[in-house]
């Protein structure tokens, strides 16, 4: 048990420290890399909680895909770091104000949080019938039965967002030559080649 506790404090401290470094480091690429470290440590916290499915999905989705795109964009940007720092003190009061408002909101929400009676019953029950099911089965069972409509709506929203992004950024440029694989495959030697018998000294 003591190992689990020590591991929790290690990962929690690392999560907070790397989250702090995300906003504190001067170089945006370092920020993204610290963000990845924060994701990793929070995934480790999920493993400690026994939520192994969510832990793995966190890494696959956020570290494996989202953060790669972040890194991609940040590396391509040509940022003048000194210029970025200039307005720091000027904007500090506004930033601090937003931070304080967010913190008050969080305290209000978490302070007034009551567990639903259903959840309390589950916690109180000594051994629930779902205890032998794995994480993945339990999540799948809930998502695809009780919350199936919400799940489908979430998927639809993502699809619409994706198509919207493509429509907004896609430009049809005239005069660009593109490879048409089907045309190449259907091309026959007879269409483009003629075999001629050439007599010596006469040419074609």
């Amino acid at each position: 048990m003591i190992i689990a506790t020590l591991a929790f404090y290690l990962f929690a401290a690392l999560t907070v420290a790397s989250a702090f470094m995300v906003i504190a480091s001067k170089n945006p690429v370092h920020s993204v890399l610290f963000l990845i470290l924060a994701f990793f440590n929070s995934s480790a916290l999920f493993v400690l909680l026994g939520a192994e499915f969510i832990a793995m999905i966190l890494i696959v989705v956020y570290v494996g895909a989202v953060a790669v795109l972040f890194l991609f964009v940040v590396m391509m940007l040509d940022i003048n770091f000194a210029e970025l720092r200039q307005g720091f003190l000027q904007y500090l009061p506004i930033g601090a104000l937003i931070g304080i408002i967010l913190m008050i909101e969080l305290i209000l929400v978490v302070g007034g949080w009551h567990l639903s009676p259903d959840a309390l019953k589950v916690i109180a029950a000594p051994v629930s019938e779902a205890a032998h099911l794995t994480n993945t089965e339990q999540l799948g069972g809930l998502l695809y039965t009780k919350y199936v409509y919400l799940f489908q709506i979430a998927g639809m929203i993502l699809l619409v967002a994706m198509i919207g992004a493509i429509v907004l950024t896609h430009r049809q440029r005239p005069g660009v030559k593109k490879q048409v694989i089907a045309d190449q495959v259907y091309r026959r030697p007879e269409d483009s080649m003629v075999v001629r018998k050439v007599e010596p000294g006469q040419g074609v």
């Binding site: 190992i3 690429v29 890399l33 990845i36 192994e52 499915f53 793995m56 999905i57 890494i59 696959v60 570290v63 494996g64 895909a65 790669v68 795109l69 890194l71 991609f72 590396m75 391509m76 794995t134 994480n135 993945t136 490879q179 694989i181």
Partner: protein
């Protein structure tokens, strides 16, 4: 003191011993994979390959390793020093930690976790960081271009790998890798392995792992004709060796995943007398060696893809096909009431 020994010290020692028992043979195997590659390539090109160092060239990998070890590690003055050195370590480390969940035989696995398949998918999706960090930290044009190419390439092919894995998981009904292998066991022997019912997915998966490991014909991140050596351009000595090690261990790892998902893991091709005398780990090794041979065969045969062709193949061919196959597999399983409990 006794309690400390029993509950903390002894398990730690056992786990470390197990890790060493996996990692050390793996690194030796990796060394011989380079020799295997050179010998097979040589045979395909009617050459002899390395045959001077040791009998039949068997000590060549160690000679190469020693040479790299004694070279000087050059760090470019414009490079970001910490990230420049961390990048090869990330690549090497990621190629090793994935082996924690690979079952070599029935019960012969370091950590038999419930979400083994997802763990492997997560680790393989992290491989891109070693390369992209190396490209950026080198602070040089060719490495950066190579890194960008590889990031786009690996992210693209991961999508279809994900769908292929889903279609296998639909047939298995579990994310545990040992369960995946045991689900392929039946009286039919090798004909009940998943490469038979899911043959198109097997082909897509194999081509995708070629792209995922940056091997020929998709080795655009290090295309020497265009990018010198891609993200490895500024690396020398042990830093380069770590990239090299990581890449080859990744090849073995991806072959192992392919064997587990489609070729029945440690199962013998038929459960009859001469075949089931051979231990499962040997079958596992033979199957991996066959897939690695195909890796090398492809390298010796095919020309490199152009970048737009690579993207077209990933997004316009593999993605729709594998998505369709997921729906088809699910529909088939439901229609014939074959969904695993």
């Amino acid at each position: 003191m006794v309690e400390f020994w029993d509950s903390y010290a002894l398990p730690t020692i056992i786990i470390v011993a197990k890790i060493l028992a996996i990692v050390l043979p793996l690194l030796v195997l990796m060394a011989y994979l380079t020799l295997y590659e050179r010998k097979v390539m040589a045979a395909m090109q009617l050459r002899k390959g390395p045959n001077v160092v040791g009998f039949y060239g068997l000590l060549q990998p160690f000679a190469d390793g020693a040479k790299l070890f004694f070279k000087e590690t050059v760090i470019p003055s414009g490079a970001n020093k910490i990230l420049f050195l961390v990048a090869p370590m990330i690549t090497f480390l990621l190629s090793l930690i994935a082996w924690a969940v690979i079952p070599f035989d029935e019960g012969m696995v370091l950590s038999d976790i419930n979400v083994g398949v997802l763990y492997l998918f997560a680790i393989s999706s992290l491989g891109v960081y070693g390369i992209i960090v190396a490209g950026w930290a080198s602070n040089s044009r060719y490495p950066f271009l190579g890194a960008l190419r590889s990031a786009a390439q690996m992210v693209s092919y991961e999508v279809s790998i994900g769908f292929v894995i889903i279609s296998v998981l639909l047939c298995v009904g579990s994310l545990n890798l040992s369960d995946v292998v045991m689900a392929q066991k039946s009286d039919l022997g090798m004909f009940s392995w998943y490469f038979v019912p899911l043959f198109p997915m097997f082909i897509i998966f194999f081509i995708s792992i070629l792209a995922e490991t940056n091997r020929h014909p998709f080795d655009l991140p290090e295309a020497e004709a265009e990018l010198v050596a891609g993200y490895q351009t500024e690396y020398s000595a042990m830093a380069f060796a770590l990239f090299f090690l990581g890449e080859y261990v990744n090849m073995i790892l991806m072959s192992a995943i392919c064997v587990i998902l489609f070729l029945g893991g440690w199962l013998p091709p038929a459960d009859i007398a001469p075949f089931n005398w051979i231990p499962g780990i040997i079958w596992f090794g033979i199957k991996i060696a066959i897939l690695l041979f195909v890796f090398i065969w492809v390298r010796a045969t095919l020309p490199r893809y152009r970048y737009d062709q690579l993207m077209r193949l990933g997004w316009k061919v593999f993605l729709p096909l594998s998505l369709f196959w997921v729906v088809a597999t699910a529909g088939f399983l439901v229609a014939f009431d074959m969904v695993p409990a």
